[in-house]
Symmetry: C2
DNA sequence: CTGAATCCGAAAGGATACTG
DNA sequence: CAGTATCCTTTCGGATTCAG
């Protein structure tokens, strides 16, 4: 290293354009970001499901949030919604090809989560115990 | 399919335990979920940076949010914080091994975002134009 | 420079009730 | 069943101010 006493690497921007918003990661993030989208996608990874099925599968989600979440996913072309004009209405949801490609990545996140959950929990315990004031100083 | 007229697959839970919260995906999500964590990680992927450097790199983030974000990442063992008792205090942040492993996945999300941003934009345009009422019915 | 603390508006999200 | 609409609480997050 040669950037001073702290050894800070002088790299510019991580994406190319310094003035650019942020590569466009925000687009995914806004979809991954909310509490429910990812869970809904995971649920639909299993296959086509009806509204109530998704709700039971995700759980914790309210009717309202499920509706909003599915609407957004549909709008982004990640989920396909199909309504059947049966007597009690029936609607099914399924991932589109685009949705499945994203679901694959989400699956990796889930795997990472499982693989690191213990380590993260341990880190948190230590942090909360020793406190933030245990660094170099 | 053999689950009725709608062709819904009868798979149970996507993760194993139906009563379980959700596999533990929530742990990652809570870290991926907020607007800033991911951006901060991306910024640190470039290397060790000081507080202000990260702030300039992420941009849009307020001092307050950067502090909170970095604190949480540190608590989870994703980021290592080092303080140097120089005259004007100097603090550096860098990804830990765990942080880098997550950063790799985030990089994939960024790639996906770039590859699909046009398609998503197009889907949104069509959805907003035709309206949600263009499904089977 | 790096942060902590306070204030406050905006937005997310839950609960509930009602509809086709 | 599959929503929609309303209310209301919680959280997020920006701006500002103060401190080591």
């Amino acid at each position: 290293m040669s950037a001073g006493h702290t050894g800070v690497t002088p790299l510019p921007a991580p994406c190319g354009l310094p003035e650019h918003p942020d590569c466009g990661i925000r687009d995914v993030l806004d979809r991954i970001g909310d509490r429910w989208s990812v869970l809904a996608i995971v649920e639909l990874t299993a296959g086509t499901r009806r509204f109530r099925q998704v709700q039971r599968g995700v759980h914790g989600i309210s009717q309202r949030m499920l509706t909003l979440t599915l609407r957004r996913l549909e709008r982004d072309g990640l989920v396909l919604r199909t309504a059947y004009p049966t007597v009690p209405v029936s609607v099914t949801y399924e991932l589109t090809d685009r949705g499945r490609s994203l679901a694959a990545l989400i699956g990796q996140l889930a795997d990472w989560s499982l693989a690191n959950r213990d380590g993260v929990a341990e880190s948190r315990r230590r942090y909360d115990a020793d406190g933030p004031g245990s660094g170099v100083s």
